[in-house]
């Protein structure tokens, strides 16, 4: 059963055809990696899922409803959460606030005017947020302002912000970009742990170590088209993939 169905998606930036008849089907519960050389259109494709870009043509169906033309917050409310390439968090707020905000977005919807009661009276949300910070290993820093966190910690915080929403689909845009090997391994462990919750994930990644430790399915994107799809082992041996990565780049 596929949770996300992308068919014939095209996107053009001026003379550049960034996406060309992209077909993609993401199975429920899978970890679907999208890999490809620089400029293959990976981020463009992801931006089409979250409402930042609208494709010129084609359809993006999530759980039977079209995501095209929806605002980012509407897409999130259907159950799609996103982790950004550089961690996007609320730098001036505390870690606890950072995790509580998405929880409120999930519980209270896109807008709710509650200007009278103190945030701290919502103990259910606070307890859930604390539990999740505990899980990602940031519980002892819950009261700190986020701007001082290390990049690895910011990434973990962002994961917690997504997880508290119990998303049906989690999009990860290069979750380990710019990280040290140790932080990368921590992130892999964290993602494996999340995997136990059965959340469907789409990972865009450069680091093959990450891809082959996590993914159940891999799609290879080159020049805006999916050129191969299969299990990690199939992809490793695929000559077209090697061509796209090595041959194309060096010739």
């Amino acid at each position: 059963m596929s949770i996300l169905e992308v068919s014939n998606v095209n996107k053009r930036f001026g003379g550049l055809k960034a996406l060309n008849e992209v077909q993609l089907s993401v199975k429920e519960g899978s970890v679907h990696a999208i890999i490809g050389p620089n400029g293959a259109g990976k981020s463009t494709l992801l931006n089409c899922f979250v409402g930042r870009l609208t494709p010129d043509s084609g359809t993006v169906m999530f759980n039977g409803t079209s995501l095209l033309g929806l605002e980012p917050h509407e897409i999130n409310q259907t159950g799609v959460s996103r982790v950004f390439q550089t961690p996007e968090i609320f730098e001036d707020l505390t870690l606890l606030d950072n995790v509580m905000i998405p929880a409120f977005a999930k519980k209270d919807g896109a807008y709710r005017f509650n200007a009278w009661h103190r945030v701290s009276t919502r103990t259910d949300v606070r307890d859930e947020a604390n539990a999740l910070l505990e899980e990602v290993g940031l519980a002892d820093q819950a009261g700190l302002i986020c701007s001082t966190l290390s990049r690895g910690d910011k990434r973990r915080l962002e994961m917690a912000m997504c997880l508290i929403q119990h998303p049906k689909l989690l999009l990860l845009d290069e979750p380990t970009a710019g990280m040290s090997r140790a932080d990368t391994n921590n992130t892999i462990d964290l993602l494996k742990k999340i995997g136990e919750r059965g959340i469907t994930k789409i990972i865009i990644e450069h680091d093959m170590h990450v891809v082959f430790s996590l993914a159940t399915t891999v799609s290879v994107l080159a020049q805006g088209t999916v050129i191969a799809e299969g299990t990690p082992d199939e992809i490793k041996g695929d000559p077209r993939v090697q061509e796209a990565y090595l041959g194309g780049a060096h010739l």
Partner: protein, 399 residues
């Protein structure tokens, strides 16, 4: 900054303490401000009124980071709305205050709805444009409502038997239907009242002070609430908030309306203490002044904007009234030549030159204390604290 910054804890208890201290300070101002020559009702009223204006402005600017350059429009609208209530219905201030707040809210809804389609500098320019438009309209096509340059004032009653003849001349004569229905007798031009208590002098100040305390309490509740947290998240990273499933536009619009209603309340109180509304209240300089007040006191803090408003109004009223004769007396202990030099130098900073002092103060604050006076206080507090805690407290004070 590599050190970990711990957020300051704002518990329900510490908020109540802050609120009680604030209320006590406001209510005792006629006594405590006497030594600096500020304890007369006219000035104290201004402190309270512009304090409300700045506290409301801070709900928008301090929490969401959206800098409105047109908030004086709501102040002006509030004043006009109140004076019309005085002219048409009653000199009692309660209906006037309520009506002004509602009218300013509707006005803010319209302006905010359009202006909030943009952010950053474009938002500021749009609000400025709307405010200047209101200002110019008040002088031109809206003269039947605003009485143009003369300003809208409370006037004599129209002769009771010929009231209908005056319906189109209402800027010049008043009707006061409600007061008339209750048989209130007027001698000359009446002054505003709260169920018979005259709203001039100290009663006027205490009415404004109670309004200020209520306004402060509501601002505190907003700041600590779920709604306030979302506004702070907008300031911190609006894009992230959108991808977190929050529709930021209605949050911004609500904040804009609330802050417009605060300005309307302030405008209404200006009319309560002096029933006259002029268009100059809507000019861009008035909008700029509330920005200065907020930055001077401390953007995003609760007490800061009120403090900034107080200081600016103090300078405007006290520093501007110091003249050479006063300076001569102050420096009379010096030898005459020296006295003349000192007086010549200091006179540049007082009297007409009060803008210079304020300008210098503003520059110093922005350069050395970007968090305003409140940041200065929290720094002092940290220096003099006997036992500093292991983790340094946040530079972001929220008191």
């Amino acid at each position: 900054m590599a050190r970990n910054v711990k957020a300051r804890k704002n518990t329900a208890r510490s908020d109540w303490i802050l609120f009680i201290i604030f209320s006590a300070a406001v209510l005792t101002a006629p006594i405590t401000l006497a030594p600096i020559g500020a304890a007369y009702p006219d000035l104290l009223q201004k402190f309270a009124i512009y304090g409300i204006f700045a506290i409301g402005f801070n709900i928008l600017f301090g929490l969401t980071g959206y800098l409105s350059f047109g908030h004086a429009a709501f102040l002006g609208v509030g004043s006009y709305a109140s004076v019309w209530m005085f002219k048409l219905f009653t000199m009692n201030v309660i209906p006037a205050v309520l009506f002004s707040v509602i009218v300013a809210g509707i006005f803010a809804l319209l302006i905010g709805f359009v202006s909030l389609r943009r952010s950053g500098i474009y938002f500021s320019i749009l609000t400025l444009a709307f405010a200047q438009m209101s200002y110019n309209l008040a002088y031109s096509v809206l003269t039947p409502l605003t009485n143009g340059e003369t300003g809208l004032q409370v006037r004599h009653l129209a002769p009771a038997d010929r009231a209908p003849d005056y319906v189109l001349k209402l800027v010049d004569v008043d009707l006061r239907w409600v007061d008339q229905a209750f048989g209130v007798v007027e001698h000359g031009i009446p002054i505003t009242n709260l169920f018979g208590m005259k709203m001039s002098g100290y009663p006027g100040f205490y009415f404004c002070a109670v309004m200020l305390i209520i306004a402060f309490f509501i601002a505190m509740r907003i700041s600590r609430s779920n709604f306030g947290m979302m506004l702070k998240a907008i300031k911190s990273n609006q894009n992230r908030l959108k991808y977190t499933g929050i529709n930021t536009k209605p949050y911004l619009l609500t904040a804009f309306i609330i802050s417009g209603m605060y300005a309307g309340l302030a405008g209404s109180l200006l009319a309560v203490t002096d029933p006259l509304a002029g268009a100059e209240r809507m000019q861009w300089t008035a909008s700029g002044e509330v920005v200065l007040m907020t930055i001077l006191g401390g953007v995003g803090t609760l007490v800061g904007p009120f403090l900034g408003a107080t200081i600016i109004k103090y300078f405007e009223n006290i520093f501007s009234s110091i003249n050479d004769t006063v300076l001569q007396q102050v420096f009379s202990f010096l030898p005459e030549t020296l006295q003349n030099i000192v007086v010549a130098v200091t006179s540049m900073f007082v009297g007409e030159g009060w803008h210079l002092t304020l300008g210098l103060l503003f520059v110093i604050i922005v350069v050395f204390l970007p968090g305003g006076l409140m940041e200065g206080f929290s720094r002092l507090f940290r220096i003099f604290k006997p036992n500093p805690p292991a983790t340094p407290t946040a530079s972001k004070s929220e008191a």
